[in-house]
């Protein structure tokens, strides 16, 4: 009795899925008809400047160097506009050339030539808004729907909600590239109060993505299986006694580790990928990079991994050392543009794009005013940033949302983090209001008490 009770409480029941178990095919027990099966989230950590990439503002060029017009400030609340700085910051026009791309003639700058080429496949959002203007809280906001830590990330919610078709790999995998990991580290892919096995599993940023995959010398697969079985049996006994959900997570982790030993060598062995694929992504063999991670993301999705998140640092172009809007921004674009576009193309030609939602974006946008440091950069901005979505039930080739003529704030179709989450869950077949988890006397959900489904984004 007590045992069954604990099993239920601690999520050790078979599959442990909220909506359906592992054994059931995808699609049963979902709230709405799913349009996507997988998500690849390209997280541009640091906050890419929409004004250099997607949000073309001729008026901003015109007013370059001038103080911000009062009319843009009256009655509005901007993160950086406190009186302390008023009158000092000047509008900053971009030096980047923009051109129209795709059938609809959407504006994309010269920094993203490869992205521009697939404009017709992308839905570009220029009105992405969040609540908080500093990195860790804003990253948590985009990942968990709350700027405070202690909430599960979207990958955890999704795998908790609908499981993952992949039995041999974690349902939520995190890949990283760039000079350092994203600020906040594992908080970004935490499961928080959801059972621990729904947390993201970070593969190593460079070198072997997973260390210690090979059995020790003298231990064959059968012996390893026997060891994992014995560990599991003993852990289960301890679990029955202590009722600690962490043990349930550990049992699942050992099972997953064993299966990863079987499946991961094949996953990370890129020898089967053709030179033309490497060329398409701009990746080099045996050199870890965002591009390699994009190929790996595709391979993960092919193997049924539900949620893949790629972090690339550092997009925090304030104008300080290694963070300028010239060479440093160019480098970030060079490191990601070709591969992100190639990922879309590659998924499409393999027939995976219709089931895979690809999202590109960072935790916030950047200000229309310049920020004078060593060079002039831009500061964090919560009211308008750019992201793009593609595949997986997204209506392709549209622009969603519009900002005012200086790019301060949305004038139409604001896309708040909560709205993005509601829409993402909807595409996966989940009603964001119904995917909940009881914790400390309250039902929590990814969108808290917010979130609107953005029907205009749906195909």
């Amino acid at each position: 009795m007590a045992r069954r009770w604990f099993l239920g409480q601690c999520g050790l029941s078979l599959g442990g899925m909220a909506l359906h178990s592992l054994e059931q095919p995808l699609g049963t027990g979902l709230h709405v008809r799913p349009r996507a099966k997988n998500v690849i989230f390209l997280f541009m950590a640091g906050g890419p400047s929409q004004l250099e990439l997607f949000d073309y503002k001729p008026k901003l060029q015109q007013l370059h160097g001038q103080a911000v017009p009062e009319s843009f400030l009256r009655g509005k609340r901007f993160a950086f506009m406190d009186s302390f700085f008023k009158g000092r910051l000047k509008l900053l026009g971009t030096t980047r050339r923009f051109a129209r791309h795709g059938e609809r003639g959407t504006w994309i700058s010269e920094l993203l030539p490869h992205t521009a080429r697939i404009a017709d496949k992308l839905t570009i959002v220029r009105t992405f808004a969040t609540d908080v203007p500093n990195h860790v809280p804003a990253k948590l906001m985009l990942n968990t729907g709350s700027p405070r830590f202690g909430r599960p990330s979207m990958g955890a919610w999704v795998t908790y909600g609908i499981g993952s078709p992949s039995r041999d790999l974690p349902g939520f995998v995190v890949l990283q590239s760039g000079p350092r990991g994203p600020r906040g580290g594992s908080l970004n892919w935490a499961s928080a109060f959801l059972p621990g096995r729904f947390q993201g599993v970070p593969f190593r940023a460079s070198g072997d993505p997973i260390l210690n995959l090979r059995n020790p010398r003298g231990i064959d697969s059968e012996a390893q299986r026997a060891a994992v079985d014995a560990i599991g049996a003993l852990n289960r006994q301890r679990f029955d006694l202590t009722g600690d959900g962490e043990i349930a997570t550990r049992i699942a982790a050992y099972e997953m580790a064993f299966r990863m030993q079987q499946s991961a060598p094949e996953l990370i062995d890129m020898r089967g990928e053709s030179d033309s694929t490497f060329a398409l992504y701009g990746a080099e063999r045996d050199r870890p990079s965002f591009a390699t991670n994009c190929i790996l993301a595709r391979r993960l999705v092919e193997r049924g991994v539900r949620f893949v998140q790629l972090y690339h640092t550092n997009w925090d172009h304030h104008g300080g050392p290694r963070e300028n809007l010239t060479t440093d921004l160019e480098r970030c674009c060079r490191e990601t543009d070709r591969a992100a576009a190639a990922l879309v193309v590659d998924l499409e030609r393999r027939g995976l794009l219709e089931d895979t939602l690809v999202v590109w974006g960072g935790e916030f946008g950047r200000t229309p005013m310049g920020e004078p440091r060593e060079s002039v950069g831009r500061n964090h901005h919560t009211e308008s940033g750019a992201l793009w979505l593609c595949g997986g039930g997204i209506r392709p080739g549209i622009d969603y949302g519009q900002t005012d003529e200086l790019g301060f704030a949305p004038v139409a179709e604001r896309v708040h983090v909560h709205d993005l989450h509601a829409t993402l869950l909807h595409l996966l077949g989940i009603d964001h209001k119904r995917l909940t988890f009881p914790f400390q006397g309250r039902d929590f959900r990814l969108t808290d008490v917010h979130g609107r489904l953005l029907r205009g984004l749906l195909a």
């Binding site: 260390l211 210690n212 994992v228 049992i251």
Partner: protein, 686 residues
């Protein structure tokens, strides 16, 4: 005054006034965003602003001041007349449980309790003999005797030092991309000694903050200033050294605020921008204390040894010049001889221990306020000062020094330091502090679950002369600490994170202690204390990942089996078994480790070379422990989890042994050893 009113709102306890607080928070966010300087600087700045705003509002007599900014007053210990209560801690805990209508858990069994207290105090496992002796010891104070011997053990300092080293961001390399090695392990050893000697926390503080300025300064107190030298150093070509020096000084300000005041990390992002000019001055007031130092290396050891080193250096210089001359002469023989001599000279370098320290400059630097945090944009000149809104700074000098700042931190008038320190001690014993946000005692932090207990401990701590061992002893001998950690049905709903302490909490061991436990179980631990970092085996290919590929030659002999805290920590390429079990990155101050639970940890324990090797040693131990399988199984459980196996557990192990019948040998026991080292219970203190 509008400003006054706003700060009062900030100050007000957040309950019922959340909207106002939120407004304040937005403003901090705004400032941080606007200046965009490193998150940490702004966080520190923000919290100091919060603090000052709060305290100035206090002066204005507005709402009740935030609890943490009022000096703790010694509360009455509740009188309950319960036999469960062993010491005042229990009275406070039980009073709360009574209010909630909950009962404490039964005490943990003796096996569990012994393993728990060993791991918490020394980070080592009790030996099977120690377990046996304790279980049989029927004296009423048997447990207290164990506690006293553990507090007196030299390994106590090792375990406790590691917590402090997290906060000090200790590592053995310089960080950033070049990440070359540094020698600062004498500082680590100083911390170990300080814990072992129970150096009072006020003295512990002043030596680290200003050991070079003490009237009775010694090499040991100078070594202690290494606390501030654990900042990273950028050796990339083309960087402005002044920029990174200033960045390090700002990191020191932020670390001081986090470590002593519990105020700088986390999400404490409330402030009132109307106070900006004043509060920025406060931040740079602290900065001005820490901006007046040279950052030399201190040579340690007897003078003769140091002299030998300087002679050696002189000779090296000469030999280098000779090589240069020989190169010009173009005589291959002469050059070859000169080079050979230089090579052999370099192998004879006298070993002198060295460590990084602070040394106050004779002429203090002129410190400026940095406009928007940008060091290239100097504002007005600032003098060393503590936040005006906090308790006053006393200084005999015309210009206050780091020593004055140190004394200010541990002044009895400081409302924060004693609470913050006992709270962290509590956190180690229960997995969460009485204030759960151990680095945020500001208005955005969580309120204490047991405010009176926190204040009682804080005042007890100071009354005991800032000694930590007596407080540690009080905690671990309390009935609260001795409870069973088993989950209870009625608590799952009511108190899933165990805030009310109606039970103990199972805690996964820290990365280093997982290694220590495996070393103990395998019977190979080299118990030597201190010395330069060591190199236990690790997976191939880790060291090639840094910008500068370096080799990792595994240590031989005893050094291969030293405790986890001695593992050489390269910031750019840390030992993967440390990071996978959530050891901090040593990039910034860490006051609480996260605790993940992943398949990668399973792979580390199952397949990682260091653990495989230890499993082999454990297998030998099991094999040689007796003739019969059952005796060996008993030995395995005793060594690893400090208790006998249940019948079911024994059956599982027999099943494993029988799966592949092989000749009786140590290798027959390897599967059993691996399983034991991989048990959840093995890496958990229950």
């Amino acid at each position: 005054m509008a400003g006054r009113r706003d700060s009062a709102a900030l100050l007000a306890d957040s309950r019922g006034k959340r909207d106002r607080v939120r407004r304040g928070r937005h403003k901090v966010d705004a400032l941080e965003s606007a200046t965009g300087y490193g998150d940490w600087t702004m966080r520190a700045l923000g919290t100091l602003m919060l603090l000052a705003a709060a305290l100035s509002a206090q002066g204005a007599g507005a709402d009740t001041p935030h609890w943490a900014f009022k000096k703790p007053r010694r509360p009455e210990v509740p009188r309950l007349g319960s036999t469960w209560v062993r010491n005042p801690i229990d009275a406070f805990v039980l009073a709360r449980l009574d209010r909630e209508g909950l009962r404490p858990a039964p005490p943990a069994d003796r096996h569990t309790l012994l393993r728990r207290v060993h791991l918490d105090l020394t980070g080592l496992l009790p030996t099977p003999a120690e377990v046996e002796a304790f279980v049989r010891d029927t004296r009423p104070d048997a447990y207290e005797r164990v506690v006293d011997s553990l507090l007196a053990s030299p390994h106590y300092g090792e375990r406790q030092a590691r917590h402090w080293l997290d906060a000090a961001r200790y590592a053995d390399s310089n960080g950033y991309s070049v990440d070359s090695a540094r020698s600062i392990w004498p500082y680590r050893d100083w911390v170990i000694r300080a814990y072992n000697e129970d150096l009072p926390f006020d003295r512990f503080t002043t030596e680290q903050m200003a050991g070079d300025l003490l009237p009775d300064a010694t090499d040991a107190t100078r070594t202690a200033t290494g606390f501030h030298r654990n900042t990273m150093r950028n050796e990339e070509g083309g960087v402005d050294p002044e920029e990174f020096r200033i960045e390090a000084v700002k990191d020191r300000v932020s670390t001081v605020a986090t470590v002593w005041l519990g105020l700088s990390l986390g999400c404490a992002q409330c402030h009132d921008h109307k106070y900006d000019p004043l509060l920025q001055a406060d931040f740079y007031g602290l900065y001005a204390f820490l901006n007046n130092d040279d950052e030399p290396e201190l040579l340690l050891g007897p003078p003769a040894r140091r002299r030998a080193l300087s002679d050696w250096q002189e000779r090296e210089k000469q030999l280098k010049q000779r090589v240069q001359r020989a190169k010009k002469s173009a005589d291959a023989d002469v050059l070859g001889r000169a080079q050979a001599e230089l090579r052999s000279h370099r192998q004879r370098r006298p070993r002198v221990d060295r460590t990084l320290v602070l040394a106050a400059r004779a002429e203090p630097r002129v410190s400026h306020l940095h406009i928007k945090g940008d060091f290239t944009r100097k504002g007005r000149v600032v003098r060393p000062s503590t936040p005006a809104a906090l308790h006053p700074l006393h200084s005999a000098a015309a210009v206050p020094t780091r020593l004055d700042l140190a004394r200010w931190l541990v002044s009895p008038d400081n409302p924060l330091t004693s609470r913050v320190t006992v709270n962290r001690l509590w956190q180690r014993c229960f997995g969460r502090g009485l204030v759960a946000t151990e680095n945020d005692f500001g208005t955005r932090g969580e309120r204490p679950t047991h405010p009176a207990l926190l204040d009682w401990l804080a005042t007890e701590f100071v009354a005991n002369g800032w000694r930590r061992k007596p407080i540690h002893r009080l905690i671990v001998t309390s009935a609260t600490y001795r409870q069973s950690s088993y989950q209870r049905i009625e608590l799952v709903e009511r108190d899933p994170t165990n805030r009310l302490l109606a039970r103990q909490t199972r805690l996964r061991l820290d990365a280093e202690v997982i290694r220590d436990a495996a070393l103990c179980a395998a019977g190979v631990l080299d118990p030597r204390i201190g010395g330069p970092g060591v190199f236990p085996p690790q997976a191939d290919g880790v060291m090639q990942l840094g910008q500068m590929a370096r080799s990792w030659k595994p240590s031989a002999g005893g050094n291969r089996f030293r405790r986890g805290l001695y593992t050489f920590f390269w910031r750019a390429t840390p030992h993967p078994a440390l990071r996978v079990f959530d050891a901090p990155s040593a990039v910034e101050c860490c006051t609480r480790r996260r605790c993940s639970n992943t398949p990668l940890q399973a792979l580390t324990l199952l397949n990682g070379p260091a653990f495989v090797e230890l499993a082999q040693h454990l297998a030998k131990q099991l094999f040689s422990s007796g003739e019969r399988d059952d005796a060996r199984i008993d030995c395995g459980f005793a060594r690893c989890v400090g208790r006998p196996p249940s019948l079911d557990e024994r059956r599982v192990v027999h099943g494993l042994l029988d799966a592949r019948p092989t000749a009786d040998s140590p290798s027959r026991w390897l599967p059993v050893a691996r399983v034991l080292l991989n048990l959840d219970e093995f890496i958990t203190r229950e």
